[in-house]
């Protein structure tokens, strides 16, 4: 099942394994508004209206629950279906689309009422609140930390839960407040007919899809779901993936071979850049960034954020080892291992927040290190105007991308909104080396590190990023040398000693990987994170990567052909954690430790040897018997029983219901996108109430649904990629071999829309939103279909987002059209579902372009308030 990704086009190399699976009998389903190169090869292609996947997935969940198709044994044993939720909880059914805890004044939820009965939970995934333990009574200042935007600490890895024995469960799943019954109620309205009315998927297609999925999800068969940014780039993005998690857990498709929810990650090593993050709120290995008030000491930090049970219980060892890697000798038990040196998170510093800070003048300098926001980020105009408000901007890239030249040739210069003479930003452009010109590792979609070796030297002044940051650090340290100022200690005490080589003193990338892997007191490379200690004896740059350099060997550089090893291919690269290829694989065996079925045997209990065994590294304590039950008061992983496969969760269970950690609800719920041509048919609550919006003139929103003026933007619009180009174009629009394959910015429309809007194949269209107007050549194609939604037919416009003003092939950027309304959990922009108008012909030039957009805004009656109301539901709900 590929949904929310165009896998064949965006992951063509990975798609070969889909084809291999098909050769072995797999069925391929693609759910996408457009018939793409993935859909062309699918057995079933399901078109839907962009932005309605939760309604579809909810429909599937409802289908499963109504027809008793859940994998009952799996669900009872391995998920929190049986867990009873506290009495205060109110569902969207009761509150017109809101959950309990809504606070109008804070435009967000107090999540206390979402908790398990009898215990209080703080999540390590997503939003975490301070002092969980201290708030056993459940009443707390749960909103106080939202401002820090500590969004996705611990990735999807777990939660703190104080005492497992207090959790109440009803394994018959009949208790009215057990998660299972709650799901049944929550999704009861997601009927096939409702799916048809919301998504535009005809009932018989939905039923075919539902049958295909459920028939293929049994003891003997598993279904995998693959998604990418077709799911994430929504104001409800996180909940899309949550919805898939609920469905897959119900079907028993997690932790089993051929199952799972596969995030097809984007840029090469984008996975790596969340593991060892370029994110503002995380330290390596999903350790949360410490808070200035709450985390005065290491103890406070660990006590607050670590879980008592599950593997997060070892957080102190991970943290101390990280501090030792950073500050080496200087980090001692006496000085809290330099915990004070760590920066503290002071607020939401996510990328779009930073743009707002630029506009406000509080962010003065900016490094663009492999990013082209003037084309690639939502509301490109806001990006450029933000940069125009900086003192300095450093761009490190291969080519003079739009983000480096907007001040002299950007769209605002054309329209007169900016004049090069008056832009105060000092722009530095530094040429960067490409991956082929430097050593390093990629961590890809499947958490696998693969090493790449420099094939050629970088041309001219181009240098690797490692070179740049290492030498920048070196120079700063040289300037500070001898300083006695306390504030310079963190920099001067850093272990900043990578060996260098060659003419340009290129630092050794392998030395960096070695540091990340970690070393024992005697300097030898560690081989497993279980060796990490909290007494300063070990140093490790990222605990989950521990083992990548085991035995002093670069395990990421292994390239043994699959024909020479078992089919799991453990000797190809190295996957975290512990070279495990399939997470939570304990779930591939039944509670007694036997494979659910012989043809799906993956990891199982070997009674003879008294340990877990199988094709992969078991994701479980290797000798913990299936019938093991922990003694009361057990800690960390020892608190988990032999039937708790989800070892990063404090309760060891897969979470159908998320008691804490999400800003916008414990159960995925369908909301319309920020801009939608139709009203929400399910609830009075139109949008995700917790979504982030701004009231800036540079980022106006359009009316939605039945609001007056919404008809001015009658069409649904989605943006996406083409195989032939790469993201904001820096790596494709300058290359003739790629540019010639897709030489012009275009939009795709159905023949029906072409007729309605008067568009001609290969002619020009102007696409307008409240932000901007862009022009594109028109491709009229049967691959685009209108959908019958609600009481009307909705036409969809497809726009690739690769183009900008520079390079060999140029064109208007799709991101001129998009806005900055964000998902509240991870602050991702909604670039997958908008509404727009389309008119034939090219757009006006210069200031006339602005006039056209203003005219649209006027016609739609757009003000700063439009589209920003958090709550539209009738009932505010109780703040239980």
């Amino acid at each position: 099942m590929v949904q929310g990704s165009n896998m064949a086009e965006c992951h063509p190399v990975g798609f070969q394994w889909v084809m291999a699976a098909k050769a072995r009998g797999a069925t391929l389903i693609h759910v996408d508004p457009r018939l793409t190169r993935t859909g062309a090869l699918a057995d079933l292609h399901v078109p839907l209206r962009a932005g309605t996947d939760i309604a579809l997935l909810g429909g599937l969940i409802n289908y499963v629950l109504c027809n008793g198709l859940e994998f009952r044994e799996y669900v009872v044993a391995y998920t929190n279906a049986a867990t009873i939720i506290g009495e205060q909880f109110r569902d969207t059914e009761d509150l017109d689309g809101l959950f309990s805890g809504w606070q109008d004044d804070k435009a967000g939820y107090a999540t206390d009422s979402w908790q398990y009965e009898g215990t209080s939970v703080a999540s390590s995934a997503g939003k975490r609140e301070r002092g969980t333990r201290a708030r056993h009574d459940g009443q707390g200042r749960s909103h106080e930390r939202q401002a820090t935007g500590r969004g996705h600490e611990h990735g999807s890895h777990g939660a703190a839960l104080s005492d497992l024995s207090n959790i109440r469960r009803d394994e018959t799943l009949r208790h009215p407040r057990c998660v299972f019954q709650l799901l049944k109620r929550h999704y009861s309205r997601y009927t096939p007919e409702m799916v048809a009315r919301v998504c535009g998927i005809p009932v018989d297609v939905f039923l075919q899809l539902a049958r295909m999925v459920t028939d293929n999800s049994t003891r003997d068969r598993t279904t995998a779901w693959a998604y990418a940014v077709g799911w994430t780039q929504h104001t409800v993005g996180v909940q899309y993936i949550r919805a898939a998690s609920v469905l897959q857990l119900l079907l028993g498709n997690i932790g089993r071979p051929g199952g799972g929810i596969l995030a097809l990650r984007g840029h090469a090593s984008i996975q790596g850049s969340t593991d060892i993050p370029t994110l503002y709120d995380l330290l390596p290995g999903y350790l949360p960034m410490p808070h200035p008030d709450a985390h005065g000491s290491l103890d406070e930090y660990v006590a607050d954020d670590s879980a008592d049970t599950g593997y997060w219980g070892n957080m102190r060892a991970y943290t101390v080892s990280l501090l030792k890697a950073y500050w080496g000798e200087a980090a001692t038990a006496d000085n809290d291992y330099c915990f004070d040196y760590l920066p503290r998170i002071t607020g939401d510093h996510s990328t779009y927040q930073t743009v707002k800070a630029q506009l406000d003048g509080s962010c003065k300098g900016y490094f663009l290190n492999g990013e082209n926001p003037a084309v690639g980020s939502a509301n490109a105009k806001a990006q450029r105007l933000g940069m125009a408000n900086l003192d300095w901007l450093v761009v490190r890239d291969f080519a003079l991308i739009e983000s480096a030249t907007w001040w002299r040739d950007g769209p605002e210069v054309e329209s007169g909104e900016l004049r090069p003479e008056t832009v105060g930003t000092e722009v530095f452009f530094l040429p960067a080396a490409a991956h082929t010109e430097k050593d390093g590792s990629f961590t890809n979609t499947q958490r696998m590190l693969q090493w790449h070796h420099a094939a050629v030297d970088p041309p001219g002044d181009a240098r690797s990023d490692l070179w740049f940051w290492f030498h920048l650090g070196r120079r700063i340290r040289a300037k500070l040398a001898g300083s006695t100022a306390e504030r310079d200690r963190p920099i001067l005490d850093l272990t900043w000693d990578y060996p260098t080589s060659g003419e340009h003193a290129e630092p050794s990338a392998e030395a960096v990987l070695r540091e990340i892997n970690g070393r024992a007191a005697d300097g030898t490379c560690l081989s497993s994170y279980q060796q990490l200690t909290d007494d300063g004896a070990t140093a490790c740059g990222c605990w989950i990567y521990c083992g990548a350099y085991a035995d002093g060997v670069n395990q990421a550089a292994r390239r043994k052909p699959h024909t020479e090893q078992n089919w799991v291919a453990p000797e190809w690269g190295w996957a975290w954690p512990a070279n495990r290829r399939l997470l939570y694989n304990r779930a591939s065996a039944d509670p007694e430790g036997r494979p659910w079925s012989e043809r799906k045997a993956y990891v199982w209990w070997d009674e003879g040897k008294g340990r877990w065994t199988g094709h992969d590294v078991p994701d479980f304590q290797p000798t913990k018997r299936p019938d093991h039950r922990p003694p009361p008061g057990a800690r960390r992983e020892d608190a988990l029983s032999g039937i708790d496969p989800f070892i990063m969760q404090a309760d060891g269970k897969g979470w159908l219901y998320v008691p804490a950690g999400l800003s916008d609800g414990p159960v995925p719920t369908h909301y319309e996108p920020q801009e939608s041509p139709v009203p929400n048919l399910l609830y009075g609550q139109q949008h995700n109430p917790a979504r982030q919006t701004s009231r800036r003139t540079v980022d106006p929103y359009q009316p939605s649904g039945d609001e007056p003026g919404s008809g001015v933007f009658p069409y649904a619009l989605t943006t996406y990629r083409l195989t032939e180009h790469h993201t904001a174009g820096g790596m494709s629009r300058w290359l003739p071999y790629l540019s010639e394959l897709q030489p012009e910015m275009f939009c795709e429309v159905s023949p029906e829309l072409a007729r309605e809007a008067g568009l001609e194949h290969l002619g020009w269209a102007t696409v307008v939103t409240a932000r901007e107007a862009i022009e594109a050549r028109v491709l009229v194609t049967d691959r685009m279909v209108p959908v019958r939604v609600h009481d009307r037919i909705v036409h969809q416009v497809g726009v690739p987002y690769h183009w900008g003003g520079n390079g060999l092939t140029t064109g208007d950027s799709a991101n001129e059209l998009t806005h900055l309304s964000l998902d509240p959990n991870v602050h991702i922009q909604e670039t997958k579902a908008l509404s727009c108008d389309v008119r034939p012909g090219r757009r006006p030039r210069g200031a006339d372009r602005i006039a056209l957009v203003e005219e649209y805004r006027r016609r739609a009656g757009i003000t700063a308030e439009t589209g920003t109301a958090p709550r539209t539901a009738a009932s505010p709900g109780g703040t239980a």
Binding site: L35, A40, E724, S739, E740, L741, P743, E760, D782
Partner: protein
């Protein structure tokens, strides 16, 4: 000119391509890999409106070409749901007509080889008239297929080359020796598949070499290496033909009776091709000739006619002197 006069592949095992278009994902990795490896220049930047094909056809600067065909007919048992969506008439035929009309406007330049020059102008999109399916947009499938030089058993290009620049290699492939070619251009119209072409700024002709340089190093061709789905399969021709025959049977068994091989028959007009294809529609739909014949097949007969005609010319002149003497 049949077997006698035409040289046969000699030496080592004959190597070739089986391109199974039914598993092509249209990623164009083959096009790009070919250009990278062989340092073929770009073919010009121009939006053609031929679905996602902006290369147009094979040429001197395009040795692999991926075709994209949107059709109002079903693909096997695939359900892509378009039949049950609220739709009007299909657009495929009319968009194709727009492209074709655009080509027609530019008689001459387009046809050739510089596909980059083709710039079909905008045309009004079809309204529900005779151009579209009467039943509305009933079905849809999107075919993709990667085309290449066929490395014909009886290669017209090679036969007609007056310099001996085109040769048959020890792998049974057909290769231009670029240091010999004088750009006479004879091979260009000789090729029954419209493959080989002259590069204007260079004067010589170019086409796929089946990566002769890689093969001599024991490497598979760049395009096949890059193909993620193995739509392009490289190997000894005999093996490929057997595999392909099995594959067709397999597809027939799963509701795709239209699957067929193209170029796999050693008895066809060119003696079978070294690069052959599995197609899901008639060859012409992909831009292939339906029944190509090596142009030199009729050459002996042509030579006889030329000799007779020459004799006729001589006789006529003779007669002219006899009759014309008086006048």
């Amino acid at each position: 000119m049949s077997d006698g006069l035409l040289e046969q592949p000699t030496g080592r095992q004959r190597m070739g391509f089986f391109t199974d278009t039914s598993i092509c994902i249209g990623c164009k990795a083959c096009e790009v890999a070919c250009k990278e490896w062989n340092q073929v220049p770009d073919d010009g930047l121009s939006l053609l409106g031929m679905s996602y094909d902006n290369t147009g056809m094979l040429g001197a600067d395009t040795w692999r070409h991926v075709a994209f065909i949107e059709q109002d007919r079903p693909l096997g048992r695939q359900n892509n749901s378009v039949t049950v969506m609220p739709t009007g008439p299909s657009g495929t035929a009319s968009t194709a007509a727009v492209v074709a009309a655009g080509l027609g406007d530019k008689h001459g330049s387009m046809l050739g080889t510089q596909t980059g020059r083709v710039h079909p102008g905008p045309q009004p999109h079809a309204t529900p008239d005779g151009h579209v399916s009467p039943g509305g947009r009933t079905e849809l499938r999107w075919l993709m297929a990667s085309d290449v030089c066929k490395h014909c058993t009886h290669a017209a290009c090679l036969d007609v080359c007056p310099t001996g620049s085109l040769i048959r290699t020890e792998f049974g492939t057909v290769v231009v020796q670029e240091d010999i070619c004088n750009g006479c251009g004879y091979c260009v119209p000789a090729c029954p598949y419209g493959v080989i072409d002259r590069r204007e700024r260079d004067g010589r002709v170019w086409k796929c070499t089946l990566c002769y340089d890689r093969m001599t190093d024991g490497q598979e061709p760049a395009c096949a290496k890059a193909c993620p789905t193995d739509s392009i399969q490289f190997g000894p021709l005999d093996e490929l033909r057997e595999r392909a025959a099995r594959r067709v049977e397999q597809l027939h068994g799963v509701g795709m009776p239209e699957a067929r091989l193209y170029g796999a028959d050693p008895d066809d007009g060119v003696g079978g091709t070294g690069a052959f294809f599995l197609l899901l529609d008639e060859p012409e739909v992909y831009g292939f000739p339906p029944d190509p014949v090596v142009t030199t097949r009729d050459l002996p007969r042509m030579w006889r006619h030329a000799a007779l005609a020459a004799a006729g010319v001589a006789a006529t002149v003779l007669a002219a002197f006899v009759t014309g003497a008086r006048r």
